[in-house]
């Protein structure tokens, strides 16, 4: 019989463990590193979304027992004019915000990229400032500025002998006002990302074109803008996702009114769930909405990959 000394075994297994660890840690460690993030997403995002998907097949006011209702919520959605209005509003909002905030952002970035520009840092800071202000603060102030009667803007128009504008109380102008406020917020962000893109363009390239006699517009059109393509693409993706998911600003500024003129999908979902207590229905809208965003993003992905860019 061989007397086994427990201490030796302990030491041995510890050594084994250490050997195993030094051999395999590169395989194990990445999982350890991603565990917290993954856990948070599983618990606070994926689980609720699965839950929401289940609820979407029920009729439920949030408090009493849910009643299974099959596809009823989804069918109802197709017939609900407010759903289509809100989808249209979301699209309109996106079509207003994305190109305009990017165009203004690009213009500002091109201007700010001039090396001899006086007060560059100050201007850059000012343009970016609105981005760090909360949507609640922005919307509260915007409601105050764009008010029909109390609003300083209308008072200024009157002073100039012009007519008042129903910034937030007319179904044709309300969305425009929301878009204007959003551009105020987003312009600086687009500017900053573009500025970063511009600074990564080697100056000799543009300089060479200039020496070759290219006009400013030609330099931009044939050198700068094509080189900014990845930046532009990134901004399009980020801005579309932002615009589709815009909530705080609209919720506080107009709560979807007047009528349904600014009811975007997120506001519609929120109001369906919390104000009219149709939690099942709200979940169904949410699931459909998610499918729409995913489709759009997939298409964008395709386009970008076809352009020869693999992330």
């Amino acid at each position: 019989m061989v007397a086994t000394n427990p201490e030796t075994i302990g030491a041995e297994s510890a050594r084994n463990w250490r050997d195993w660890w030094s051999l395999n840690q590169r395989k194990v460690v990445p999982y350890l590193f991603i565990t917290p993030t993954l856990a948070i997403f599983l618990v606070f995002v994926l689980f609720p979304i699965a839950y929401s998907a289940v609820i979407s097949f029920f009729k439920w006011n949030g408090i009493s027992e849910p009643e299974f209702s099959g596809l009823k919520n989804y069918l109802r959605l197709l017939e609900d004019p407010i759903f289509w209005t809100s989808l249209q509003n979301t699209v309109n909002f996106t079509l207003g915000v994305v190109p305009l905030s990017m165009a203004f952002g690009l213009l500002a970035a091109l201007g700010l990229n001039r090396p001899q520009l006086p007060g560059r840092a100050v201007l850059r800071a000012i343009y970016f400032l609105p981005f760090v202000i909360s949507a609640v603060a922005t919307a509260t102030t915007a409601g105050w500025i764009f008010g029909d009667t109390f609003g300083v803007l209308n008072k200024m128009l009157v002073e100039l002998g012009l007519k008042k504008v129903q910034w937030l109380t007319n179904r044709h102008t309300a969305m425009m006002t929301v878009v204007i406020v959003t551009i105020w917020v987003r312009l600086g962000f687009c500017m900053l990302i573009y500025l970063a893109g511009l600074q990564s363009i080697p100056p000799d390239l543009v300089e060479a074109a200039r020496v070759d006699g290219a006009s400013r517009w030609q330099q931009f059109r044939h050198i700068t803008f094509p080189l900014l393509k990845p930046t532009t693409f990134l901004l399009i993706v980020l801005n579309i996702i932002y615009s589709f998911e815009v909530f705080d600003l609209v919720f506080v500024l107009t709560n979807g009114g007047p009528g349904y003129a600014t009811t975007v999908l997120t506001v519609f979902i929120y109001n369906s769930a919390f104000q009219t207590q149709r939690v099942g229905y709200a979940s169904a809208i949410g699931i459909v909405f998610m499918a729409i965003i995913m489709t759009i993003t997939l298409i964008q992905w395709r386009i970008s990959n076809e352009g020869g860019r693999i992330s």
Binding site: Q25, V29, V136, I193
Partner: protein, 290 residues
């Protein structure tokens, strides 16, 4: 040399070229300054409103600057509600969740950038795809979950979900991709374990990324609205944004007082931004967008 062509040109032409350039710069400056004025105006108006009497603020005449400057609105707004408590809540929530999202973002960004492991791309895509989920769908089920966990009306109900951030993860990963593999290999050859590599090599190198994560995270968490609105129903647990919303929904709106509290709520974020602007902009430039 390219310059030789330039120096061959007549002196006067070069001068006019320089003058033209200067003129163009001035024109651009003028346009940018005009834009800046438009951008600053709402902020100015915010401030001006808070320094006016209620009568002046609601006046039917155009009053562009407070006729006499008063601070009553700040006093009224501040005394109207338990703001110290709300700022305390916000600070606890923001600091804890930013610490979490920075640490976890760096860890997972590092893992996704610098390791080969099974399921890497799938998991990364999975996490990225949650960006496409509108928050409003999650609110109620997430609240039911949080309540079940006993977290309803605690700071944790907000901190928990806010401790991971897709943009943070994405930025961190992009940044880590730029760290040369040789550096990590060299550390490994020196006998460093993976954790040591992370804490001793990666984290020090990632300081600019940390700055971006902290600043972006801070502003996002400070400004968060929809989820706290649902998760925190007890007034004593409110954050600053909920406080402003509370004041707006108050029986009688005293707008100058509300706006003065809006101004106060913006101050910390402005200080943060102005103090760390440089890191922030450099960070985005370095990490982003290649």
């Amino acid at each position: 040399m390219a310059n030789s062509a330039m120096s061959a040109a007549p002196y006067t032409d070069r001068l006019s070229l320089q003058a033209k350039e200067r003129l163009a710069t001035f024109g651009v400056w003028l346009a940018l300054a005009a834009g800046a004025l438009i951008i600053v105006f709402p902020l100015y108006w915010m401030l001006a409103t808070t320094l006016m009497t209620r009568e002046d603020a609601y006046s039917r005449e155009l009053i562009l600057a407070p006729p006499q400057i008063i601070f009553d609105n700040y006093v009224n707004g501040w005394n109207n509600s338990p703001w110290p408590r709300w700022y305390g809540n916000t600070l606890i929530i923001v600091v804890t969740s930013v610490a979490g999202l920075t640490l976890f973002g760096l860890m997972s960004g590092f893992a996704f950038a610098k390791y080969q492991f099974r399921g890497r791309n799938l998991l990364f895509l999975l996490i990225l795809s949650t960006l496409m989920i509108p928050l409003q769908v999650l609110l109620l089920p997430r609240f039911l979950l949080v309540a079940r966990m006993g977290w309803a009306n605690t700071h944790w109900s907000v901190i928990g979900p806010h401790m991971a951030d897709i943009f943070g993860l994405f930025f961190a990963r992009q940044f880590m991709l730029e760290i040369p593999d040789e550096l990590l290999e060299a550390a490994r050859l020196d006998g460093a374990g993976e954790f040591t590599i992370f804490t001793r090599v990666v984290v020090p190198l990632a300081k600019p990324a940390i700055a971006v994560l902290v600043i972006l995270g801070f502003s996002a968490r400070w400004n968060a609205f929809a989820w706290p609105l649902v998760a925190l129903t007890r007034q004593e647990m409110y954050t600053v944004q909920l406080g402003i919303n509370y004041m707006r929904g108050y029986y009688f709106t005293d707008f100058p007082a509300v706006i003065s509290m809006v101004v106060v709520s913006i101050v910390p974020i402005l200080i943060m931004f102005l103090a760390f602007q440089r890191y922030f902009i450099e960070g985005i430039a370095r990490t982003g967008i290649k």
